[in-house]
């Protein structure tokens, strides 16, 4: 079985580009705070979603709708409506994180397939099987804190399909359980669908150096000719004791393309690409590359050489937790 490529689309144009580039599956969200990439100018209104899904289905691709923020107390109706509209629009599944919303979807929309979002941070077989028992979850997106052997151990103990991130932004904290952004800016992934939001970023020049501040905290500084990475909190530069540096993670992004054979051996069903905020040409290039890789693997051919270095954030990449270097 060819591994499934699950590709992001922040706009209808990206969705079409991804389908044409060979994505088996596209994931996207409605243009409100129900999804974890709630950025200005991004995401789909209801009619765009309906049209996008029809286009994808006509080409044999599937569409998943991420409704993966945690509904705000008193305003759950907005999230409930998103689930209902996902079903009406013809989505192949919804990606959910909140237990209350999962319970609602399982009760009110039993025929709409449910995937467990990475934002639920389900990191072991016990909890994954529990989500399957209680909410009939068919697939889980695994948190990016697990190594390949840990992923293999999970797959050995569950019937639930697993999907793992292979390219793009890397959360080093357990997803859905991080309020660093909330603490520094008042806006968080869980509540607002944003992390380290651009609205709270300032770049200040100081004696030739360029400081990057987030929520007023200076977390990056580069010299005149160096590229300035986006100041995401967990990839900022900090001091502790007598050391200064990227104490949590370097400004790198995830690229696990060379680990695809190992991930397949570990029983992974689908490979997920991060980046609903990315352009359609980026999306198309990444999809083509990964589609070639899984097709080659399926045909017993060697993996194509990596071509994605120039596309990655800060042009620096890591295999994250997968290679067990964190252990």
């Amino acid at each position: 079985m060819v591994m499934e490529i699950v590709c992001p689309a922040g706009t209808p144009a990206s969705l079409r580009a991804a389908v044409k580039a060979g994505a088996h599956t596209i994931y996207c969200g409605f243009n409100d705070e129900t999804n974890a990439r709630n950025f200005p100018g991004l995401n789909f209104d209801r009619s765009e979603m309906r049209d996008g899904i029809a286009f994808a289905h006509a080409q044999g691709s599937k569409v998943l709708i991420a409704i993966n923020t945690f509904p705000r107390a008193g305003d759950e109706a907005l999230w409930h409506r998103a689930v209902a509209d996902a079903e009406t629009c013809g989505a192949d599944a919804v990606i959910l994180a909140d237990p209350g919303l999962l319970a609602y979807a399982a009760r009110q929309h039993p025929d709409l397939r449910r995937h467990l979002s990475v934002q639920a941070a389900a990191a072991n077989a016990d909890i994954i099987n529990y989500y399957a028992d209680v909410f009939d979850v068919k697939r889980v997106v695994l948190p990016r804190v697990l190594s390949v052997p840990e992923i293999a151990a999970i797959n050995a103990e569950t019937e639930v399909e697993t999907e793992v991130f292979v390219f793009g932004g890397l959360c080093v904290m357990a997803e859905g359980r991080c309020s660093l952004s909330s603490y520094a800016t008042g806006l968080s992934p869980n509540m607002n669908g944003v992390c380290s939001p651009a609205s709270h970023v300032e770049y200040l020049e100081d004696k030739g150096a360029l400081d990057a501040r987030l929520g007023g905290f200076t977390i990056h500084r580069v010299g005149p000719s160096e590229p300035a990475p986006y100041p995401t909190l967990c990839k900022g530069c900090f001091g502790a004791g007598d050391k200064t540096g990227h104490l949590f993670e370097d400004p790198v992004s995830l690229n696990a393309e060379q680990l695809i054979p190992q991930l397949q051996k570990a029983g992974v069903t689908a490979l997920k690409i991060e980046g609903r905020q990315r352009s359609r040409s980026y999306v198309a290039q990444v999809v083509r590359n990964f589609r070639n890789a899984v097709d080659a693997l399926d045909a017993g051919m060697p993996m194509p050489e990596g071509m994605l270095a120039k596309l990655s954030e800060g042009q620096a990449m890591t295999t994250g937790a997968y290679k067990k270097t964190w252990r």
Binding site: R72, E150, V172, N190, L247
Partner: protein, 251 residues
């Protein structure tokens, strides 16, 4: 408004740990949650002292619960989570992984690292036996009030963060080990020298975060002392105080 003392988030020696709970038994708190929340490698150092601490606190009239680990990935951690109830006290779940392992029908509490943001999740947890929920610290007062109302209808006590460095993130990677250029499995307990975590500064030297092994906290000690009236009005019934190495009895 009553007081709950949450689990110690830091790595303390067994003597410091046991001494803390001896002192706590004499203090005017109603409820104590203890056990290892952050890192499964720390537990063996004080595990043998847990039964005595529980007995002392119960003798002093405290309501006692044992916390589950916040992030469960390894076999050892799953086993630890599955066998928590064998200690014979109430369980506080700090990750949903503990939920399927609870004795049938047993009431349990829910710690602030479990994402309870709305009525739907609160109702679902109550249906599983939750009798007390400490809400995530990032929730605004309006959400707290809405949830306290739902909690009151269902007989679930609502608690909020009352004092201490805020738990902000948990990771599969150990930052204390990374700082000392060690792997997590060979950490040599780099976190034991920092009984309240290690200060993390911005590039301008401003205190910002606190490193605590796999956990990241705020530098500041959040306090709800100035909001007690508003929280009471919102229907909150207890405040959670988070252990620190110095000055805790005064707090």
């Amino acid at each position: 408004m009553d007081l709950t003392v949450g689990p110690n988030q830091f790595f303390w020696s067994a003597d410091r740990w046991a001494g803390f709970y001896d002192d706590l038994a004499k203090s005017p708190v109603d409820r104590v949650v203890l056990g290892e929340l952050v890192c499964s490698k720390r537990l063996p150092f004080f595990q043998e002292r847990v039964p005595d601490a529980i007995a002392t606190l119960i003798d002093a009239g405290k309501d006692v619960a044992l916390t589950s680990l916040a992030l469960v990935t390894l076999k050892r951690e799953r086993k630890q989570t599955a066998t928590l109830a064998e200690m014979g006290v109430k369980i506080e779940i700090s990750d949903l992984t503990a939920l399927p392992h609870l004795p049938k029908g047993a009431a349990f509490s829910v710690g602030p690292l479990v994402n309870v943001y709305n009525e739907g999740t609160l109702i679902w947890l109550a249906s599983k036996g939750a009798s007390r929920i400490c809400l995530p610290p990032e929730l605004p007062l309006a959400s707290v009030a809405t949830l306290a109302k739902t909690g009151a209808d269902l007989g679930v006590a609502i608690e909020v963060w009352g004092h201490g460095r805020l738990p902000l993130a948990i990771s599969g990677r150990c930052y204390h080990a990374r700082l000392h250029k060690r792997g997590k499995d060979n950490c040599q307990f780099a976190c034991e020298d920092d009984p309240d975590g290690l200060d993390v500064r911005t590039l301008e030297g401003q205190p910002f975060l606190t490193m605590n092994g796999v956990q990241t906290l705020s530098d500041t000690y959040a306090s709800a002392a100035h909001q007690i009236e508003a929280l009471t009005h919102a229907g909150v019934s207890s405040l959670r105080l988070s252990p620190q190495s110095k000055g805790f009895p005064q707090i």
